[in-house]
């Protein structure tokens, strides 16, 4: 016990960056530290608004947590230029959840074969498999929870919320080629690291948006105006076969006050694609096995310390306490805390060191849990990862993408038109913010070396 008293201010997510940046810019020093989404990092790093915690991590006076608990994919979001800025807290990434009771039911599999003439492609390996299954179940009352027909998929596309995250995660296997290096076409997604030319309108991205649009047709029509919570609720009420979303879904579906599907859900890393677009050679590459790409889509919300803080040690002490194994596990076991698993201490043996009884004691269904943890382990420890956009103005780039995606979802723009417009807007943003500065930051954020 430190005896310290902490004043914690709750700010809506939409206001958080604005409030902290205003505070830092004006130098009022209202906040000693703040929870940040990983995409804020660029805004904070360039002007030197946050301080490194390297010294504190090594200092034995503070509660102990270990940076090696985090997989490289997540470690990257807490550090910049080799220095640590954030502590372990939340781990965000999107995985595919499905109605295991329905898809593994032999009667539904027989009906699928009768209607389509093919075996049901389950477990799902590619996005095309997901489309085929979603199409078959869409409009049928397969759940029998009510008299209304159910849907194949549910997503959230309310503009200026979090719809663009769906596109990022889904598009990764069409765009990102793995390998040991980082260049325009390898382990890259957003910009050409040499010129800052936006790559968002490349054929891989366009194909992915066509797939996303096709998939969206097997969801409720209203989802183009739905936020995250509304889409989750649809799945939890047993109205959709698939949802691809964050770890919160796994935890929420254990809450029987809200969920009708506890014990009925499977989960896996997001599906892949047999074709990936090579942005180095400008050609499609066919693969013998699907290109499966992990993602850290989302905020992976974690604490950082203001460079203006008068009490950085107190702040770090609090963050470090929250990152210790017992506290972090307490949060992850319960799930409703919003803290999702990602570190090795959260996974079961042999991948990690968490206690099954800890999860079961918090009310988890064992089948749901095992699917869930395997999906997240596979995702965060995937060989190829979707690079994360952490440069100055990430929010602005994403909002431009989000608005154009919304145009596609309501049928005003084709996928190609939407992404061409996005590329144009991104280029304008880059020019306004300073191309050289943006390029340096982008190269640094993805670990690019000429």
């Amino acid at each position: 016990m430190t005896g310290a008293r902490l004043d914690i201010v709750e700010v809506p997510i939409a206001e958080q960056l604005n409030k902290t940046i205003t505070d830092l810019r004006l130098g009022t020093g209202q906040f000693n530290g703040f929870m940040e989404a990983a995409w804020y990092m660029g805004e904070y790093i360039t002007p030197g608004f946050i301080r490194s915690i390297d010294d504190y991590i090594a200092d034995e006076r503070f509660p102990r947590w270990d940076t090696s608990w985090l997989p490289p994919s997540l470690r990257n979001l807490h550090a910049w230029g080799g220095k640590w800025y954030g502590t372990l807290n939340d781990s965000d990434g999107q995985v595919l959840y499905w109605r295991n009771d329905i898809l593994s039911d032999s009667e539904w599999q027989r009906k699928y074969k009768t209607e389509t003439g093919k075996e049901m492609p389950f477990p799902v390996k590619t996005w095309q498999d997901a489309i085929d299954i979603a199409r078959f179940f869409h409009g049928k009352n397969w759940d029998n929870n009510d008299q209304e027909p159910d849907t194949g998929m549910v997503m959230h596309f309310k503009v200026n919320e979090q719809g663009m995250f769906h596109f990022m995660s889904l598009s990764a296997p069409f765009v990102v080629m793995g390998g040991d290096k980082v260049d325009r076409g390898t382990n890259n997604y957003w910009f050409d690291p040499e010129t800052m030319e936006p790559l968002i309108d490349q054929p891989g991205h366009v194909r992915a948006l066509e797939v996303l649009y096709e998939l969206s047709r097997y969801g409720p029509r209203a989802q183009s105006a739905w936020d995250l919570g509304t889409a989750w609720d649809w799945f939890l009420r047993g109205k959709a076969i698939f949802v691809f979303s964050w770890g919160d879904v796994g935890a929420l579906l254990q809450d029987t006050a809200r969920s009708k599907i506890k014990g009925k859900v499977g989960a896996s890393i997001l599906p892949g694609s047999y074709e990936v677009y090579d942005m180095n050679d400008n050609r499609w590459v066919k693969l013998p096995e699907p290109n499966v790409v992990g993602n850290t889509t989302g905020g992976s919300w974690h604490g950082v310390i203001s460079a203006r803080s008068r009490n950085p040690e107190v702040v770090y002490s609090f963050y470090a306490l929250m990152a210790t194994k017992p506290v972090s596990l307490w949060n992850v076991y319960r799930g409703w805390t919003g803290v999702d698993p990602g570190a090795s201490i959260h996974f079961l043996l042999p991948e990690g060191s968490a206690d099954l009884q800890g999860y079961l004691g918090a009310g988890w269904n064992e089948s749901d849990l095992r699917f869930y943890l395997k999906a997240y382990h596979d995702n965060f420890f995937a060989k190829t990862m979707l690079p994360y956009l952490r440069i100055n103005g990430a929010e602005e780039y994403w909002r431009a993408l989000d608005q154009n995606l919304s145009e596609t979802m309501i049928g005003r723009l084709s996928p190609k038109e939407a992404l061409s417009r996005t590329a144009k807007e991104w280029d304008e943003i880059t020019s306004r913010r300073g191309r050289d500065a943006q390029r340096k930051q982008y190269q640094s954020s993805i670990g690019y070396r000429k």
Partner: protein, 282 residues
């Protein structure tokens, strides 16, 4: 200085200071910001009218301006017409008139943010209140045209009582003698309205119109909570666009230029209306 003058100055000073600090200074500061490219962490860079030039080339700003104009013109027109109709109705003897009048004015006292969230549930498309009860299948919030109609409906719901209240107050102040004298001339209710009621109401109509136009141009809360400007940018009014550019993308210079532009537009509309009123009376 004469003692009386000093006393006057003493009482005037707080309001003068208030206007200077809270109205004039922010306005001038906003104009100043609009002439700069403001970057967090580096000195402001003077760009002259660059932000204004960009404003006229920016497709998203143009789209927001058109949406705002549609919202203001449709919303205010319906509010004025409905407010007038209701005021004429409530100016007669009606059973439970007092109770109904109180109920009618209730939306006026609701917080716009709360109203936005309330209507989110009312317009919920999959079995929400309206679609569920009336067995409709209207895409209230997911279709760009319906979404714009939805925010206009909510604004009409909230602000019609304002027009109604003011019109009713003036109607109840018209001496009964006017009508009695008019009835000797004509039996036509329309002619009585046209030549007695309307001329008396005219200054009030202009006043209400001005107040509503000014407020409607500044609308923010309802689209912000109900649609967040979507789908796509279908309900992104100009204030919301300025907010996004400034407070989410930290482009304070451009955001200020949008705000100054909106201020000038509203000012121009008000000046034009005043000019017309003055011409009418002269």
């Amino acid at each position: 200085m004469h003692r009386d003058n000093r006393t006057r100055l003493f009482f005037l000073l707080p309001s003068v200071l208030w206007v200077l600090v809270f109205t004039l200074f922010p306005l001038l500061y906003s104009v100043r910001l609009s002439l700069f490219n403001v970057k967090i962490g580096s000195p402001d860079e003077f760009v002259g009218l660059g932000n204004y030039v960009h404003l006229f080339q920016d497709g998203r700003a143009r789209s927001s301006a058109i949406i705002t104009l549609i919202f203001v013109s449709c919303g205010v027109a319906v509010q004025m017409a409905l407010g007038m109709a209701l005021a004429l109705l409530f100016n007669r003897r009606l059973p439970l008139r007092g109770v109904l009048r109180t109920v009618m004015t209730m939306p006026l006292f609701a917080t716009p943010i709360a109203v936005g969230f309330l209507f989110f549930t009312i317009f919920y498309e999959e079995g929400g209140l309206v679609n569920g009860l009336l067995r409709l299948n209207v895409p209230w919030l997911s279709n760009p045209y319906w979404a714009l109609a939805s925010i206009t409906i909510v604004d009409v719901w909230q602000w019609t009582p304002f027009c109604f209240l003011i019109f009713l107050a003036v109607l109840q102040g018209i001496p009964q003698d006017y009508y009695e004298a008019a009835m000797l001339e004509t039996k036509s209710g329309w002619r009585v309205f046209r030549f007695i009621t309307l001329p008396v109401l005219q200054p009030t109509i202009v006043l209400v119109l001005l107040l509503r136009i000014t407020e409607a141009f500044k609308v923010f809360d309802i689209p912000f909570t109900l649609t967040t400007g979507g789908p796509s940018t279908a309900t992104q009014v100009l204030t919301m666009y300025a907010y996004r550019v400034g407070m989410r993308f930290f482009n304070y210079g451009y955001s200020s230029a949008i705000s100054v532009f909106l201020f000038v537009v509203v000012l121009a509309v008000i000046m034009t209306l005043f000019k017309r009123v003055r011409q009418t009376y002269q």
